[in-house]
């Protein structure tokens, strides 16, 4: 039984500081939804409002269509996985997992059985009688998930639960979390500052900055079609060019600045705003000769071998830093340091974007 969550014009103030500003989002039942943003952007505040530890200053939070105002965390159909997991160190694992059932008056034998079933689900059989301190980081993670699942929540809330794990384990747990979510069908709301995590796991991502939701879209869309410069920069690298905009037809515009004239896509509602051109390093090609359009000459200053690709950094006129990626496919040659090359990009791959959506 999973439920959808609706945030309607939700604001949260701490004194004079507005932590969350007019958040509107509708999360579907069974969806894996991530809030992505730098620390202090208000994503944890949203999570704590949904779980009931903070009441919104304005607006409504609905879970399964029901307004949650005034319900305490112990009355909401949510289960929160804390950043530090907050397992109970003085209880054995099975009591940790079945604590939510103990609260509901379930008898001991049933609780024990349920705890063991859940331990199997999270791939940790036989740990029932261990203590929390005997488990590794990844195992604790699984126990925390099992403990939250035990109460059969309609919504699981996860507050950067993977941030304390090492890279390898983090990647493994990503897949694991995703699989558990698919298996149980519970709505997941996931909080993270790691764009890789958000993009890899989520059905949809809400990117946040300074208390505002900047964009809500599928991971692919967030990356390929960011709505503003903040989103573009937060989910990946960019080469950014400034200049004056003059509109061209068919959703394209041209930008003329100190590094030349460029043509790029423009969104309909971006007309008339201050815009910059954003293009990703992997869409920036290098060639010995200038292309017909969207071409900048640069001097290669650094060539970094990254394995799957080679990252090439260069300086264009006026000290403008440009980054390109050359695929390590055995065919393409990376230029040498000091070489003069042209960085070019496809107009369809470049975007003219405003800065972040902020108040004021």
């Amino acid at each position: 039984m999973s439920a959808g969550i609706d945030l309607e014009n939700v604001c949260c103030d701490f004194g004079t500081f507005r932590a969350v500003d007019n958040a509107n989002v509708s999360i579907k039942p069974g969806e894996f939804f991530s809030f992505l943003g730098p620390s202090g952007c208000g994503k944890t505040t949203i999570l704590r409002m949904v779980s009931g530890f903070i009441e919104p200053t304005q607006g409504a939070i609905k879970i399964g269509g029901k307004d949650m105002r005034g319900s305490r965390p112990n009355q909401r159909p949510t289960a929160l996985i804390f950043q530090n997991l907050a397992l109970f160190p003085l209880m054995p694992i099975w009591e940790n997992i079945s604590f939510g059932l103990e609260v509901r008056g379930v008898d001991k034998a049933t609780r024990r059985k349920k705890a063991e079933d859940l331990l199997k689900l999270v791939d940790l059989p036989g740990a029932a009688d261990k203590m929390v301190s005997q488990l590794s980081g990844g195992q604790k993670q699984r126990v925390a998930i099992a403990r939250a699942l035990a109460v059969e929540p309609s919504v699981m809330l996860l507050d950067e639960p993977l941030s304390a794990l090492d890279l390898k384990l983090r990647q493994h747990m990503r897949a694991e979390l995703r699989a558990i979510q698919k298996r149980t069908g519970v709505t997941f709301i996931y909080i993270t500052h790691d764009q890789g995590e958000a993009l890899a796991m989520s059905d949809r991502v809400g990117v946040m900055s300074q208390g505002r939701i900047q964009q809500i879209a599928a991971p692919r869309d967030i990356y390929d079609n960011p709505v503003n410069g903040f989103v573009a920069s937060f989910v990946g690298e960019n080469n950014i060019f400034e200049g004056d905009i003059s509109p061209v037809a068919d959703g394209m515009a041209s930008l003329s600045g100190p590094h030349g004239n460029f043509r790029a896509r423009i969104l309909p509602d971006a007309q008339g705003k201050a815009l910059k051109l954003y293009v990703r390093p992997e869409h920036t090609k290098l060639s010995k000769t200038a292309a017909a359009e969207n071409s900048v000459e640069m001097e290669v200053t650094e060539v970094a071998f990254e394995g799957a690709f080679i990252s090439v950094h260069g300086l264009a006129s006026g000290g403008k830093r440009i980054q390109a990626e050359v695929k390590n496919d055995g065919v393409t040659q990376a230029p040498a340091v000091g070489e003069k090359v042209f960085a070019t990009f496809d107009a369809a791959r470049a975007l003219l974007l405003p800065d972040a959506n902020v108040r004021g």
Partner: protein, 311 residues
């Protein structure tokens, strides 16, 4: 030891060790051992000390079993040696004081550690501390005045219309030990508060929130999460309050009714009035041993380890 020498040098380390050794040996072990040794000798005129009458005997210890009196415990009449009766009352009411301080201190400690605004903590702690700057004797006398027949407590209750006749609090309303229990609770509540406060402060607030998030009502969160975590603090608070209460001489002397005898008063009488230090020492030894035993038994009952208290 090597670490100490490396850090502070040989001279300073030697001073540390000698001071600690002096404290433990000369100020703790020797006096106690002297008492222990004296408790097995009869009370003799000075000329006989070291003479043929000065032999080891259990006579001092046997005195506690003399003088049976008829008394009643909770309405049940019982015949029992008078000093044993005092002894049992002292242990029982000290345990009651411990329970009362625990009931008062735990919610306050939780409030200070987890609920109160951290910025107001220094002020609140100061407010708790200020009364403790006054000597225990003065505080006991202050309570004597509060509880006296024409005192402020009766005046207040009369003014509020709760009672229409003055109550003789010092004679006791429930038992003759009422006044002692009230004043001891007041005097030692902070010894309960601070260990519990320290213990709860070290509890991760997320654990309390996690319990609540899993549906736990407040009382279960306390029972299953906060109290187990605070148990070492509760245990050390209980041991301190119990030992201090049972050993208190001043409070029972100042506020106790004529019918309320506290065992330290009995010991004091042997030492000071009877000048029989040998019997006084024997009584002290019995009292010390039984109180330690009582604490050990209680620790067993509540499954507290000694290492928990040392934390």
């Amino acid at each position: 030891m090597e670490d100490l020498i490396r850090r502070y040098g040989t001279g300073l380390t030697a001073v540390f060790c000698l001071l600690v050794a002096f404290w433990i040996l000369v100020l703790v072990i020797l006096p106690n051992f002297a008492m222990f040794e004296q408790s097995f000798r009869p009370y003799l005129p000075v000329v006989d000390i070291g003479g043929p009458k000065d032999v080891f005997t259990m006579g001092n210890y046997e005195k506690i079993l003399a003088n049976p009196v008829e008394t009643s415990w909770f309405g049940i009449p019982i015949t029992i040696p008078i000093h044993i009766s005092t002894f049992v009352d002292t242990v029982f009411f000290s345990a009651l004081v411990t329970l009362m301080t625990l009931i008062l201190a735990y919610p306050l400690a939780y409030f200070l550690a987890k609920v109160a605004n951290p910025r107001s903590i220094p002020t609140l702690l100061l407010l708790l501390f200020i009364p403790m700057w006054v000597s225990e004797a003065l505080r006991a006398f202050a309570w004597y005045i509060i509880l006296t027949f024409n005192g402020p407590l009766n005046a207040l209750l009369k003014a509020l219309g709760i009672i229409d006749q003055g109550v003789r609090w010092q004679n006791g309303v429930v038992t003759s030990y009422d006044a002692i229990v009230i004043v001891l609770t007041y005097c030692y509540v902070l010894f309960m508060l601070f260990p519990i406060y320290t213990a709860i402060t070290s509890l991760d607030t997320n654990q309390i929130e996690a319990a609540e998030d899993l549906g736990s009502p407040w009382w279960r969160t306390h029972w299953r999460v906060v109290i187990p975590h605070a148990k070492p603090g509760i245990a050390s608070g209980c041991v301190m309050v119990f030992m201090l209460s049972a050993g208190s001489l001043l409070v029972p002397t100042v506020v106790g009714s004529t019918k309320a005898n506290w065992f330290p008063q009995t010991i004091y009488t042997w030492f000071n009035d009877a000048l029989d230090w040998n019997t006084g020492a024997a009584y002290s030894m019995i009292f010390l041993l039984v109180c330690i035993l009582f604490v050990i038994v209680m620790m067993r009952v509540f499954k507290v380890k000694l290492s928990d208290i040392a934390k």
